[in-house]
């Protein structure tokens, strides 16, 4: 399968197989009008299988979202068809307005104006908890 190389944009590489769609949705890439490619289950010597997302646009993306969904992913910044920068990302300590709390008893479930904030409470186990009710987030 062939997907054209991009000229100016971002390649999110080394995504754990199966997480690309979650990342696509949370990054709201459906709202972009540039070419975006999701490549699933690519063979990888290191990971066995991996997903890749290519975004052919200089539209900024929220690295915190990538760090939240898959901190093992890498971000390649492409300029004029050449790899300009390779970034590894860490799990963000705080996540704002990316996901919503699933607890129906949480104050955020009834008050629309409140920011949805999650804090990293256990890095080893990759646990984020709601700032308000401490319910564990689904990643």
């Amino acid at each position: 399968m062939k997907v054209d190389a991009i000229q100016n944009g971002i390649v999110i590489d080394h995504i754990t197989a199966g997480l690309a769609f979650r990342l696509y949705n949370l990054l709201e890439l459906d709202k972009l009008d540039c070419p975006v490619a999701i490549i699933k289950n690519v063979n990888s010597a290191k990971m066995g299988k991996k997903d890749i997302i290519k975004i052919d646009s200089e539209h900024p993306i929220d690295f915190n979202v990538v760090g939240f969904v898959d901190p093992k992913a890498t971000i390649n910044v492409i300029k004029d068809g050449v790899l300009k920068e390779k970034l590894s990302i860490d799990m963000p300590l705080k996540l704002k307005n990316v996901i919503k709390c699933k607890n129906p008893r949480c104050i955020t479930s009834v008050e629309q104006e409140i920011e949805h904030v999650f804090l990293l409470t256990d890095k080893e186990e990759k646990v984020y908890r709601c700032l308000y009710c401490e319910t564990k987030a689904d990643i």
Binding site: I107, E111, C130, Y132
Partner: protein, 306 residues
Amino acid sequence: MRSLIDIIDLTPQEIDEMISVACDIIDNPQKYAESCKGKKLATLFFEPSTRTRLSFEAAMYELGGNVIGFSEANSSSAAKGESVADTAKTISCYADIIAMRHPKEGAPYVASRNATIPVINAGDGGHNHPTQTLADLLTIYREKGGFDNLTVGFCGDLKFGRTVHSLINALSRYTGITVVLISPEELKVPSYIKKNVLVPNNIPYIQTTKLEEVMPQLDVLYMTRVQRERFFNEEDYLRLKDSYILDPQKLTNAKEDLCIMHPLPRVNEISVAVDDDPRACYFKQVLNGKYMRMALILKLLEEAGK
């Protein structure tokens, strides 16, 4: 502005200071009779409560202060759709301190971020209830003379019981505490309490399903209710419910100075026959709650005035 949303907002030193103040209030009530003269407590209770609201109101009156507020959401602007943030800003114009109970978890935190006066969480859904923990701590202190080297048993619903999680959290900061967790398999304490609280604080803990077996070791027994709706099937509930009902028979091999506690309301998990046992401390807990709320109101108003 300093508020109290979660028991861990207070350091062990601050809790010790508040216990000293509460003990002084018990010994010298007259000394504090005008401490809050001219101050107003707003009790914002978005859901019904007997003990907590009246305890806060009694606490403020005994400090010489006044109380305004409401006892159900329907009699407030919440019924018109007002946000917690706006309610907090509005009440800040009328009162000096807020005690808030709300069915939605995190609501008192939102209020504290928007109020210009201290906010006390008087219970937010199944999440936090720090003043209950303060009442529990004063009770243990008064009955046992301190917190160090105690073996504290928690019995019943340890999975959903917010008072249990909060008290384990508070006790984990003292030395020599041993925790005994007595519950049916279905209602064991969540693993994150063990991982985030007990293990990092090197608190030895025992998990068991049988109350009688561990009874002789306990200095404190904290009972909670095993609720029918927590079980997947009626058969399991009927099989287990009596194992977690405390009666005089189960107390035969308990220590003579055991302290029996319960956050109340009690349904049937402690037999009424236990009430006359001098080891029953659950109604003392209610009274201690008022004294700790007095100490807390004093502390927060004093800090707000600085």
